[in-house]
């Protein structure tokens, strides 16, 4: 009986794994029940062959191999899949154009883990990758950036916003804002629009992203005439109770609570503030993006919430609409977030730079790296994308673009 049960379990597991594999091959996505967009465990990184099929017809076209790294499974799968699909949309668009550059695109899973990111990077090297696109999250990106710097690969990250990623490495560039940049911008934005003078901040002191934004914000706030009346922290996304932090802000009389944190704890804070009848203005950074897409989220909690995000998925310009359309076909209906838009812009930035630098098939990855670095840092180089127009880069790899703040009204983003 015991053996029979064990066999039954084994058989069930094999079947389950096989089922995952099948799903993964159908366009690389398997949004299973309830619109969840995490790829299942069996998927070890989807890949696209679009570049191969389209590349053959135009002779003389240069093939550029872009290798992406990000978490397709695990806790951060939402972000990884968004960057994966977002870039795929851009790759498909470029390959459909009559362009001299065709892109081959492959994406490897790092499960939001530094060591696995290195493995993913190694397997991309075996694939003869030309340019590294990623990683999606800061910690793995830091690990990979050390390697690409030594091996001389050009690297562009869609969303790893820590300054440590680019510091001291000429080959690593960011398409997202850096953390300190967001903190300073937030302080200026609040002051210029006279939203409030008494500010409370609740941030995650176990997280480099959150701490980075907070420190820059706290340094800039006095220059802008803002008074930070309450600063409270939490150390773990899994700790659900924020009543102390919220009450601290309330008793300090803060008119605005700045939340440089991700949307999951932020949604708890919004609820618990409402529970104690505290209704200040809430202002978030780009980590807040995604709060509206949480399943079961009470949209009324987010009414009036302001956040800085480079991408407004509710915008109606043609490029955004087309992007959202194509994206949803890849993602089985999951709405794109800013990570997706960052990914899309990354591929276009690499493409524009490659065109400008005159990349050809004979170049080694070292040559491509040098050529792309000089293209990116050239004063005449700028890229128009979904997350900003006229994006330029400085030699330290940081992007310069206009931040956009939006306010949530009736469950959608409205530009401020």
């Amino acid at each position: 009986m015991k053996k029979f049960l064990a066999l039954l379990m084994a058989a069930a597991m094999v079947l389950a794994m096989a089922a995952c594999g099948n799903n993964a091959n159908n366009g690389g996505s398997n949004a299973n029940n309830g619109g969840s967009n995490a790829n299942s465990g069996g998927n070890t990184g989807g890949q696209s062959d679009a570049g191969n099929t389209n590349g053959g017809d135009s002779t003389g076209a240069v093939t550029l191999k872009i290798g992406g790294i990000g978490p397709l499974t695990g806790d951060a799968a939402i972000y990884g899949n968004a960057t994966y699909w977002g870039a795929q949309v851009a790759v498909d668009e470029i390959n459909a154009m009559q362009s001299d550059i065709k892109i081959e695109y492959k994406f490897e899973d790092d499960e939001h883990d530094g060591e696995k990111a290195i493995n993913a990077y190694r397997s991309l090297q075996d694939w003869d990758v030309d340019v590294i696109y990623g990683c999606t999250t800061s910690a793995p990106c830091l690990a990979v950036a050390g390697e690409t710097f030594a091996d001389r690969y050009f690297q562009l990250t869609p969303s790893a916003s820590s300054t440590d990623v680019t510091a001291g490495r000429d080959n690593v560039f960011q398409i997202c804002f850096t953390d300190p940049n967001q903190g300073v911008t937030a302080a200026k934005y609040i002051a210029e629009n006279k939203m409030a003078t008494k500010i409370a901040v609740i941030y995650n002191n176990a997280d480099a992203y959150s701490t980075g934004i907070y420190e820059a914000f706290a340094a800039e706030a006095p220059n802008q005439g803002l008074e930070v009346v309450s600063v409270s922290t939490f150390a773990d996304d899994k700790n659900p109770d924020f009543s102390v932090q919220v009450r601290d802000a309330q008793s300090a009389g803060a008119e605005l609570v700045f939340l440089p944190i991700y949307y999951t704890p932020a949604s708890n804070i919004l609820k618990q503030a409402k529970d104690i009848g505290y209704a200040p203005k809430f202002f978030g950074a780009d980590g807040m993006d995604g709060i509206l897409t949480m399943e079961g989220f009470d949209l009324s909690l987010a009414e009036g919430l302001m956040l800085m995000t480079p991408f407004n998925a509710y915008a109606t310009d043609e490029r955004t609409v087309t992007f959202i359309d194509s994206y949803k076909k890849l993602s089985n209906g999951v709405e794109p977030n800013q990570f997706a838009a960052d990914g899309y812009d990354c591929v276009y930035a690499i493409y524009e730079a490659a065109k400008k630098a005159g990349i050809n098939d004979g170049m080694s990855h070292e040559d491509i790296c040098t050529a792309l670095i000089s293209a990116f840092t050239d004063s005449g180089f700028s890229v128009d994308g979904l997350t900003g127009s006229g994006m330029t880069w400085n030699t330290s790899g940081e992007v310069s673009k206009e931040p956009v703040a939006v306010v949530i009204e009736n469950g959608i983003y409205v530009n401020m």
């Binding site: 015991k2 049960l5 379990m9 389950a16 995952c20 299973n32 029940n33 309830g34 969840s36 967009n37 995490a38 299942s40 465990g41 499974t73 695990g74 806790d75 951060a76 799968a77 939402i78 002191n205 409270s232 922290t233 939490f234 150390a235 773990d236 899994k238 700790n239 659900p240 109770d241 009543s243 102390v244 932090q245 009450r247 601290d248 008793s251 999951t264 704890p265 949604s267 708890n268 609820k271 618990q272 529970d275 104690i276 009848g277 897409t293 949480m294 399943e295 079961g296 989220f297 009470d298």
Partner: protein, 296 residues
């Protein structure tokens, strides 16, 4: 007034820990094993209730009952598949298995339900209100907090009555004291242990629903941290003791909130665990734990 608010927050958080700790302590008391998968059964219970209420639009009461029923079945299944074959094995093997089951449940949830957070629906409301305001709005108590505290006290009283008065409860206590002797007296030890897991898992489902009603984010890892805290609470109060788990849970919640509010937010967890260490140094069996003489 903020002091009173903190007391209320602490008691409401502590009651959740207490309900989870009651499950831990039941299983430990009778089966003499630490069921580390308990926290993840909580998570499963919360997901079941979430899908019943949000996706299938069932009434919340049915959702809770469904969660209790499924978790009870799951608890018995885990016991049957993972722990029963190890009844004679060294306790370390059982402990490692329990950790394995915990990871299995977390990853199965990740596979089925995805890594994106779900927001648990607020259904403990009266009319449009989710709580009562006192002293002109200075003090607010949510209904969830009231329900949690009441449920916690009721469950504790129920368990004490059950283990003290009923035949099954007496069998449980007999098994807890000496499995071999209990078997000789005609008690079905295996059935008794299964029953214990059933009760523990049913409590886990209730804890899951209440926890997610109060703190509404639902993730595959939702149960792990509260599970560890509740285990701490159970040890704090004296593992194996039902009133001990209740007291330990409440104290842990209040200490946690008070440390956050008055000492240090960064060090809150460190201080909570430091208190535990001090208590165990002074009283190794926990606050209400009984000193059991080992027979030689």
């Amino acid at each position: 007034m903020s002091f009173l608010s903190n007391v209320i927050s602490g008691i409401s958080l502590g009651s959740i820990y207490a309900i989870i700790a009651l499950g831990y302590t039941m299983v430990y008391g009778i089966a003499k094993m630490l069921n580390f998968a308990h926290g993840d059964v909580i998570m499963v219970g919360a997901y079941v209730c979430f899908f019943a209420v949000s996706a299938y639009n069932l009434p919340p009461v049915i959702g809770v009952l469904l969660a209790v029923a499924l978790c009870t079945a799951l608890g018995m299944l885990i016991e049957r598949m993972a722990y029963k074959p190890l009844r004679q094995a060294p306790s370390l093997a059982v402990l490692i298995t329990a950790i394995g089951v915990s990871y299995f449940l977390q990853n199965a949830a990740l596979l089925w339900w995805g890594s994106d957070p779900k927001k648990f629906p607020a259904f403990i409301v009266v009319g449009e209100q989710n709580g009562v305001s006192l002293f002109g709005g200075q003090l607010r108590i949510t209904y969830v907090a009231i329900v949690t505290v009441v449920a916690c006290v009721a469950i504790m009283a129920g368990l004490i009555a059950f283990t003290g008065k009923t035949k099954m409860g007496k069998a449980m206590r007999a098994c807890s004291e000496d499995k071999g002797a209990a078997q000789l007296m005609g008690i079905n030890v295996n059935a008794t242990i299964s029953m214990t897991f059933a009760i523990g898992s049913a409590l886990a489902a209730i804890a899951g629903v209440l926890m997610c009603s109060a703190y509404d984010t639902l993730l595959p890892t939702t149960g792990s941290m509260p599970g560890i805290k509740a285990f701490t609470a159970a040890v704090f109060g004296g593992i194996g003791s039902i009133p001990g788990a209740f007291l330990g849970g409440l104290l842990l919640g209040v200490i946690q909130i008070f440390t956050q509010a008055y000492l240090s937010q960064e060090l809150a967890d460190a201080i909570v665990f430091a208190v535990l260490i001090v208590v165990l140094l002074v009283k190794p069996t926990g606050l209400l734990g009984k000193q059991i003489q080992e027979k030689v």
